[in-house]
């Protein structure tokens, strides 16, 4: 679109297209944004996804139910545990398998630890997107300790493949709870340190307050979930609304803020770190003995039927729709991933923003591309 310069009709101002990504330092993986710009102002933004499509859902159809678990790891590499979890939960729901209580607790511990690891990673990258380098290192430093806990449990630091149909692949190491509590004691005061680095800083405040406002109606219309929805004033949390595992027995708050801007999304995640720590402490206290796995045959054959289960991943409401035709392989395995919805709504928020705001908003949604593309 060309428009004339008011002061001098001979001059025209022209919009131009800026192709941000798929290779760009801050589009979190390989998101491509086709931006129509008027100088530094964004006129239109069109996200292009699909660069990381690995046909995970199709692959699942050609594998036995147990073999699908490592594939779900690759859904969202920042929270493999919850991706594992939603899939095995769907299988167990369809096969009507009861999970031993110890396994349920272990699963909750792992989900919450993974939430901490994921939020710490988010904290680091988010701060990096607004131009602060130091918080990145702080977030990663403490995430390492969570990964150490994972490593001692299942041998892996990123793609865990830990959950099994009917339980978990192996028991917790003997001193796990002590080490976890020691970590929490050491780490919880550090949340204050993270906040000190950003909260009171006027530069950060100006860049995040009233930027990227998402109304509750719009958030619901686009299927936004998790911390992003809670930052818009909706107290929705799958752990609270459709409790699974042992969450009904645990005490925790669902932090809510009403501003719906980047700052609110940041604050929500900081609060969630504290709540996760609180849940972990209760789990360590209540962790029962007994078996950690209800042994299943190598080839699990599910009865005919279909199911949909969902749970609260660090990014939001992740769901798995599983259809069985009575064989040892899923007929259809569809994942509903939160990041996909977040990218969909993201394009409407960056309109009329400046380039730096794109980064702040994109990062504040905690979008993970492999989960979007699947």
């Amino acid at each position: 679109m060309m428009r004339q310069f008011p002061a001098n009709p001979d001059l025209t101002v022209e919009e131009f297209e800026l192709n941000m990504g798929p290779q760009h330092p801050s589009t979190h993986g390989v998101l491509r944004l086709v931006l129509t710009m008027d100088g530094e102002r964004v006129v239109r933004c069109k996200p292009v996804v699909g660069y990381l499509h690995r046909s995970i859902e199709k692959m699942a159809e050609n594998r036995t139910y147990t073999q699908v678990i490592p594939v779900t790891d690759r859904l969202d590499y920042c929270t493999s545990m919850t991706s594992n979890y939603v899939y095995v939960m769907a299988v167990e729901d369809l096969a009507d398998i009861t999970v031993p209580p110890r396994a349920e607790y272990i699963r909750v511990i792992m989900s919450e630890l993974n939430r901490i690891a994921s939020h710490l990673l988010w904290y680091g990258t988010f701060a990096l997107e607004v131009g602060a380098t130091t918080p990145f290192i702080y977030g990663f430093r403490d995430r390492e300790k969570v990964l150490d806990l994972f490593e001692s449990t299942c041998g892996a630091r990123l793609l865990y493949n830990y959950l099994r149909i009917g339980g978990v692949s192996r028991d917790l190491p003997e001193d796990f709870c002590e080490r976890m509590l020691a970590f929490l004691d050491e780490w919880e005061p550090l949340i204050r340190e993270y906040e000190d680095l950003l909260d009171e800083n006027p530069i950060f405040y100006n860049r995040t307050k009233k930027v990227g406002f998402l109304s509750a109606e719009k958030a619901l219309a686009y299927g936004v979930s998790g911390p992003n929805l809670r930052a818009s004033g909706m107290a929705r949390d799958v752990r609270r609304e459709h409790p699974y595992a042992v969450y009904p027995e645990l005490e925790f708050d669902v932090p809510v803020r009403t501003e719906g801007d980047v700052f609110a999304r940041y604050r929500i995640r900081m609060e969630e770190l504290r709540q996760s720590a609180r849940i972990l402490r209760q789990c360590a206290e209540k962790l029962p003995g007994g078996p950690y796995l209800e042994p299943q045959p190598l080839r699990v054959v599910l009865p005919e039927g279909e199911t949909y289960v969902h749970l609260e991943s660090p990014r939001g409401d992740i769901g798995c729709y599983l259809v069985s035709q009575g064989t040892d392989k899923p007929y259809r395995c569809k994942f509903r991933t939160p990041s996909f919805c977040h990218i969909a709504v993201f394009q409407h928020l960056v309109r009329d923003c400046l380039i730096p705001d794109i980064m702040a908003i994109c990062a504040s949604f905690d979008v993970v591309l492999p989960e979007t593309d699947r």
Partner: protein, 388 residues
């Protein structure tokens, strides 16, 4: 510089009269060597400071292993020389669609500005074998302060050229951001410097230091313009950071937004020129701050002897060396402050930067100017003449 150099050669050779161009060439060589070595040290220091702030150790693997074992501050000494060699050996790529002339001119231009700005910076003074104390600078220009401000503004031309010639949208956006930024920060910066100018009644950087040494209202400690012109010092420091494109004002090359801004398409030595110029400019800013606000090479109430008798040997030019040591110690204190700011702050947004510059810093620098005028008037009426 000239009289000292001539005297020095005469002492050394027993009366040899140097040709008129020799001091210039020697100064050029000294400044070039200083830029290169100092930038190397600053980059190393920056990485160590950054590491300290981020609870890491920074570069540790290059250099003598025995030193690295001692502490984090003794490790990785060879990192920047190795990096420089790497940059020298990299392939020099000129993309096909760029404006070749502008593309090749920009790094030279930016380096030229970085080099020229050293001319009036006074690093010390000496009275050894001189009839009167002489300020040590390449040339202590009468309009030194104005010259410095004018030359540093040249950088904007180079960056705009680089951004435009690169034929890359990120480069262009980066170049434009740099242009806007430097233009709007130049003005509060100049007004901030006008305070000391009024107090000293001179534009020569050497005079500024001498006036500070003399003190205000007859009190030596008040003399450092940091005290009477405190607001000016703050405004100047902020503007100076903005002008050298250092974080948190690094919008022109904001990695997360514009990849590498105006230097996106540059490789090898051309890129190194930008990098070197940036570090050199950072240090220049600290040197100007030292000279204008921190009393330059002087300490209140301390006048070093022109030569030091060590018993077996008389060290000539002792006041020159002591002055340099004081000057660089102060300059590096400012460098450390800038590094501290860099690694703790998020980046500003361009429009916030403009708002901050025009609506906050500019009025503040006016207030500072007013305060300085009042102080200078009091000095004039009750203590006679300029503070000096």
């Amino acid at each position: 510089m000239e009289p000292i150099f001539e005297q020095f050669v005469r002492d050394l050779t027993g009366g040899f009269q140097v040709p008129f161009w020799a001091p210039m060439l020697v100064s050029l060589g000294l400044v070039l060597a200083f830029i290169a070595l100092n930038a190397m040290f600053m980059i190393w220091l920056e990485r160590k400071i950054c590491g300290r702030i981020q609870r890491r150790m920074g570069p540790m693997l290059t250099g003598p292993k025995a030193w690295a074992r001692f502490s984090m501050w003794t490790g990785g000494w060879f990192q920047t020389p190795c990096d420089s060699v790497k940059l020298l050996l990299k392939e020099d790529i000129i993309p096909a669609q760029v404006d070749r002339f502008g593309f090749m001119l920009a790094p030279v231009l930016v380096f030229m500005a970085a080099l020229a700005v050293y001319v009036p910076l006074p690093i010390s003074s000496t009275s050894y074998a001189q009839s009167a104390p002489i300020v040590v600078a390449v040339a202590d220009l009468d309009i030194g302060l104005l010259y410095v401000v004018a030359i540093t503004t040249l950088t904007i031309l180079a960056i705009l050229t680089a951004g435009w010639a690169s034929n890359n949208k990120y480069s262009l956006l980066g170049g434009m951001r740099a242009g806007v930024q430097i233009l709007s920060y130049e003005i509060p910066m100049l007004f901030a410097l006008m305070g000391p100018m009024v107090l000293a009644g001179s534009l020569s950087l050497g005079d500024l230091v001498l006036v500070q040494h003399a003190g205000l209202f007859g009190v030596p400690l008040l003399g450092w313009f940091l005290v009477p012109s405190f607001l000016g010092a703050v405004v100047y420091l902020i503007c100076a950071v903005a002008e050298t494109n250092r974080p948190p004002f690094d919008m022109p090359e904001a990695e997360q937004e514009l990849v590498a801004g105006f230097s996106t398409e540059y490789t090898a030595m051309r890129f190194a020129m930008f990098y070197l110029a940036e570090f050199s400019n950072t240090f220049v800013v600290c040197m100007i701050f030292t000279a204008v606000f921190l009393g330059g090479w002087t300490l209140p109430g301390f006048i070093p002897p022109s030569s030091l008798n060590l018993g077996f040997f008389t060290l000539p030019y002792f006041d020159l060396l002591a002055g340099m040591a004081i000057f660089f110690a102060k300059a590096y204190a400012v460098v450390l402050l800038l590094m501290w700011i860099r690694w703790t702050f998020p980046r500003l947004r361009p429009d916030h930067l403009m708002t901050f510059g025009w609506k906050f810093l500019l009025p503040l620098s006016f207030v500072n100017l007013l305060v300085c005028i009042v102080l200078a008037a009091i000095q004039q009426i009750y203590f006679g003449g300029n503070p000096g």
